[in-house]
Amino acid sequence: MTTQSRDAQSAHQESTPGANAESLADDRSRPPERPALRARLDWRDYAIYIGFAVVFCLFAIFLRDDGFLNTNNLLNIARQTAIIVVMAVAGTFVIASAQIDLSIGAVAGLSSVVVAMTIASTGSAAIGILAGLGVGAAVGIVNGTLVALLRIPSFLVTLAMLGIAGGIAQWMSNFQPVPILDTTFTNAFGSGEIGPAPTLLVWAALAVGVGVVVLNKTRYGRQVLATGGNAVAAQFSGVRTRRITFYVLLVSAVVASIAGMLYAGRLQTGRYQWGTGDELSVIAAVVLGGTSLFGGNGRVVGSAVGAVFIGLINNGLILAGTDVSQQIIIQGVIIIIAVALAKKK
């Protein structure tokens, strides 16, 4: 805990000197005697939505002839980003509590392998799902214990766990893909449709819905924000901050294991590679969505939009015929611009 709030400290510090001068200016405009409800309709709070709308329109105009606006293509974007959206919801909690989880991608890969192997050997989708959730729970308990109890910074714990979970997935599967033939499973996770909507979308919507309610409307959510905002103060206020940190990491890993099943369902295979690099996409999505990297606030819907935004750019750039190297460059530039714009002065 020590370290995390230290982190927050330096983060704030970093933003102090200049930032101050200006935010003071804001305050000066109203009489200091009546600190009323602050004008919260700052457009910067909506940067991601505005950015999304602008980029969408640009693509709609310039990529008209390349099929960008096809329902199918839009569904593609949704499908391709749905798994990141699911992880980004849990990631919002992690980042809001001033932690970081770099192991989610590897956990997703491991979970996909375990699910596939379990289904292959038992023939039962249900047992497979349980095994997958078990992977998430086990990793989550280890991460949570090391961070919350032993107070090792989550950056290091989850970085090490990224290697460990990834290594186990490779070793269990001997680097080979493990096919999943159970269609009940693949339909429920990622391949099927419910009415007109791909199941992936249903999962993403569910995750966002649950995330929004839990973060904003439950005690747990408030305590997560308090822990991230100032862990000591939260502790003094009776929040069991260690427990909160533990749960946040546990849930993150369990959600990652579900994401692994979504990959497994969508690609009808368990493979150690599923999820590789998703930790960075998730962090980018969450931060683009307006959650501070240093904890204390969290925006579930913003994170989801952030994830879709990244997917949108990817899709548009491919349709525009750019090279992969150009895509990487443009994505980097867009992320910097978006964060710079969203940054409160």
Partner: protein, 369 residues
């Protein structure tokens, strides 16, 4: 101290022997038919027979067709040459490329890439499913359902049927590449000594065939040679893994005579390891005519033989077969191009033949041409 002296005491290979038997074995491969068989046991059609007449080309140009090129990764000479050839041939055929993707070795990304490429409504798609034939199959299935004609590189997606699901598969003789590597290694080591094998940890058909070709040939043809270490790599830091692993091998096996790699990047690491350990006599043979291995060979370095795939030719063939599909012309289900043995004497020529461009100036400089 022990290690320092090992460089001179254990040369592993005596370079001065009669190379004729090995040269003959290599020549025998080149003159024979390709060794590999198609995914369903097909024998290969001769790549030279895949051609379009001038009328057919004109007919295709009238169609104003579109195409998508979906790659597994880029960044090696193999994929670059493929894409260059496909571009060139499609240009000739008046086919517009509407999507060109690179999955950076991640099958999940390639899955998405296929979906995205389909949104651009191409008429044909040229793609390589070898990252994961199973996982990618549902994505390719969508292409089939959308009526997109598929031409595969290397191997088809799982359970796909030639004719109904895809047009054709154009492959390299991967097994043959391994066989050539073994003969080249034997030639460098005079048929005796210890060798190490670097293979791809993920068992895609391409990778497995190469390794099998090498190991089976060593076992059957060269009883005095022994594979003492073999290790699977995963990338993406091929060179780093190669360097560290070969370093360890050189430490453990002072008599190690040679290293064979399933493609050129890890062998660049092997060269680095040999150089820094002062093992100037280590012989390296590999698949794929990459810049660096070619240059090393030209400089009389470690690389003693290369079994080159023919990516440029392969790309042309794929694009032409896509033309077949557009015309509805009957296409052979499987075309395989032989691997080309490359040695120092013919590296410049081979370069021109394989990539259809002049060899880079460093290469000719190093050759003293």
């Amino acid at each position: 101290l022990v290690a320092c002296s090992s460089a001179d005491s254990s040369t592993g290979a005596s370079k001065n022997c009669d190379t004729k038997p090995y040269d003959d074995a290599i020549a025998a491969y080149s003159s024979g038919a390709v060794l590999g068989k198609g995914p369903y046991g097909e024998t290969s059609a001769d790549a030279g027979t895949i051609e379009l007449t001038a009328e057919e080309v004109e007919q295709i140009r009238q169609m104003k067709a579109t195409a998508a090129v979906v790659m597994h990764f880029s960044g090696d000479s193999w994929s670059n040459a493929q894409v260059a050839a496909i571009n060139k041939e499609f240009d000739k055929l008046g086919v517009r490329i509407v999507a060109k993707t690179d999955a950076q070795a991640d099958p999940a990304k390639q899955f998405s890439d296929i979906e995205t490429a389909l949104a651009a409504k191409p008429d044909v798609m040229v793609s390589i499913p070898s990252l994961d034939t199973t996982a990618l199959a549902p994505a390719y299935r969508k292409a089939v359902e959308q009526g997109v004609k598929l031409v595969f590189m290397e191997n088809p997606a799982k359970d796909f049927k030639a004719g109904s699901d895809y047009v054709s598969v154009v492959a390299t003789d991967n097994y043959g590449a391994g066989v050539l590597g073994a003969h080249q290694m034997a030639r460098a080591l005079c048929g005796e000594g210890e060798v190490g094998v670097v293979y791809h940890a993920a068992e895609a058909p391409t990778n497995v065939l190469r390794q099998k070709g090498f190991e089976e040939t060593i076992a059957s043809d060269y009883p005095d040679m022994k594979v003492v270490e073999s290790k699977g790599f995963l990338g993406p830091d091929w060179k780093g893994e190669g360097s560290q692993t070969v370093n360890a091998w050189l430490t453990k096996h002072p008599d190690l005579g040679g290293v064979w790699c399933f493609f050129d990047a890890p062998c660049e690491g092997a060269i680095d390891a040999a150089r820094s350990s002062g093992r100037n006599d280590l012989a390296v043979t590999t698949v794929d005519l990459g810049n660096n291995v070619a240059l090393d060979m030209a400089q009389d370095g470690f690389v003693k033989g290369i079994a080159a795939a023919q990516p440029y030719q392969q790309g042309l063939t794929e694009a032409t077969l896509a033309g077949y599909a557009l015309l509805g012309k009957e296409a052979p289900p499987f075309v395989e191009l032989p691997s080309v043995p490359v040695a120092r004497d013919d590296v410049a020529e081979s370069w021109t033949k394989i990539y259809d461009v002049e060899p880079p100036s460093e290469l000719t400089d190093a050759l003293g041409q």
